[in-house]
């Protein structure tokens, strides 16, 4: 967990998100930033990582020279088995997701609403490759958390009162990890839980497109 000390806010966000994973969980890490969370888990940490294309118990990613041509994760990275890994077909893979066996999924986002709605698969006219397994992950994992930069490349907020893009799922996001803060979705909307080091609550509110409830007393930092 020494990466908690890194000055790079994105790496600190990813390291903070890794602490969301409790021992014994079955976890699916989405493509992109969430995949990096695994690098911040201690060696031997008891967790079962799942990937949509049919594996539970994902081991380390391998460079091309060492890769097995038949063994990838859903993002196309070459991975390896660990003792106890299992392979299965696509129906079994999503049976596991829809029936509630997935304790946690960490997903990327274009937009997250204060109601827990998530948009992460389509930008009409610009980006429409299909949702893959994201809809089932976002709708059926027992806990859905989002990892994203707090604002987009132009500085626009990604945490909004309502999503403007096509939805992936409604009202399922529980928590958002960003480079600025940890924000929970509550019945009353966004609630600030933690701040990135050097960031103020006021800065987080200014970068957020909806009201942000502040906790009483000191706000923990990460």
């Amino acid at each position: 967990m020494s990466d908690d000390k890194t000055p790079d806010p994105r790496r600190r966000m990813v390291a903070r998100a890794a602490r969301e994973i409790a021992p014994g969980m079955v976890v699916n890490l989405g493509i992109g930033l969430p995949t990096q969370v695994v690098d911040h888990l201690p060696a031997g940490f008891p967790v079962c990582l799942h990937t949509e294309n049919g594996m539970a118990g994902i081991g380390p990613t391998l460079p091309a020279a060492e890769a097995d041509r038949n063994l990838i994760d859903a993002g196309g990275a070459y991975v390896s088995p660990i003792p106890g890994s299992a392979y299965f077909d696509s129906a079994v893979s999503f049976a596991l997701v829809r029936s509630g066996r997935l304790d946690l999924t960490m997903l990327g986002a274009f937009e997250v609403a204060e109601t827990g709605d998530l948009a992460n698969w389509k930008i009409p006219g610009r980006f429409s490759p299909g949702a893959g397994g994201a809809i089932e992950l976002a709708q059926k994992a027992r806990r859905v958390v989002v990892l994203t930069t707090h604002t987009d490349r132009k500085g626009n907020p990604k945490l909004l009162a309502r999503c403007t893009l096509p939805l992936t799922a409604t009202a399922h996001v529980a928590r958002i990890f960003t480079d600025l803060a940890v924000v929970d979705i509550t019945p009353g909307g966004f609630a600030l839980r933690e701040l990135a080091r050097g960031i103020t609550a006021r800065e987080v509110q200014e970068a957020t497109g909806a009201p942000l409830a502040l906790p009483a007393g000191d706000i923990p930092t990460f």
Binding site: A64, R69, N70, Y87, S90, S93, G130
Partner: protein, 231 residues
């Protein structure tokens, strides 16, 4: 004692049974499990007006992409085509009709087709644009979508090992949609990396029973397309 029939066929003869306008399921998730050799033969023989059902559109310059580039594909039913810029461009320019499906629901629609069931009911995607135009029903007070079963004229399958009757076994993440599609088509054609004699695949190791498989085509070489992609 009886003996099980021999279904081995040449790749040319097997693919020649696929007509123009066919609906074809294609196994694979990315490279693993994609039947590249069968796809190459389909490209060579020239069948056109095809509807393809596959998780993805492979990557640019690989597998399905050749058929799309050659204008052979009328429609694609898929879950994610983000690694193939050609396919996205063809879709955006109206040269290729694409129907997107949630990944596990695509799997279940195919499984239903293979299991003789006309449709499945699900709440997946109810709040998304993927629900548009789909029939809704209420079961025990819950609104659900009717997702119709998928069956195809042909399924192109990649197996790791097979015997001459068409019993199939897969490896690692080359499994994916293959065992489901191998049950859901009128003509199931499987290519295999290793062809075993009858009995060479122990009964407990069979993942797709040969009963579902019509043609078994041993691969004489594993071409570069099956290899590790160096990005």
């Amino acid at each position: 004692m009886t003996s099980l029939p021999d279904k081995t066929a040449s790749i040319e003869a097997a693919i020649a049974a696929v007509p123009d306008g066919a609906t074809i399921m294609v196994g694979g998730f990315g490279v693993p499990g994609t039947p590249f050799t069968l796809l190459r033969e389909l490209l060579r023989q020239g069948q056109t007006g095809l509807t393809l059902i596959k998780n993805d559109a492979n990557e640019t310059g690989m597998g399905l992409d050749h058929l799309i580039a050659a204008g052979r594909v009328r429609k694609l039913i898929a879950t994610h085509i983000g690694l193939n810029a050609h396919a996205i461009a063809a879709m955006n320019e109206g040269r290729l009709e694409v129907e997107f499906c949630a990944q596990g629901i695509l799997a279940e629609r195919i499984r239903a087709g293979g299991a003789g069931l006309p449709a499945i009911l699900t709440d997946i995607g109810l709040d998304t644009e993927l629900a548009a135009g789909k029939q809704r029903v209420e079961v025990e007070g819950r609104p659900l979508l009717v997702e119709t079963a998928l069956r195809a004229d042909a399924a192109l399958i990649h197996a790791d090992r097979a015997d001459r009757f068409g019993n199939l076994a897969y490896v690692a993440t080359a499994r994916n949609f293959n065992p489901l599609m191998a049950m859901a088509a009128r003509l199931v054609i499987a290519e295999t990396e290793t062809l075993l004699p009858l009995g060479g695949l122990p009964p407990d190791a069979v993942e797709t029973p040969g009963v579902f498989v019509d043609r078994i085509c041993p691969l004489t070489e594993i071409s570069e397309e099956y290899g590790v992609v160096r990005r």
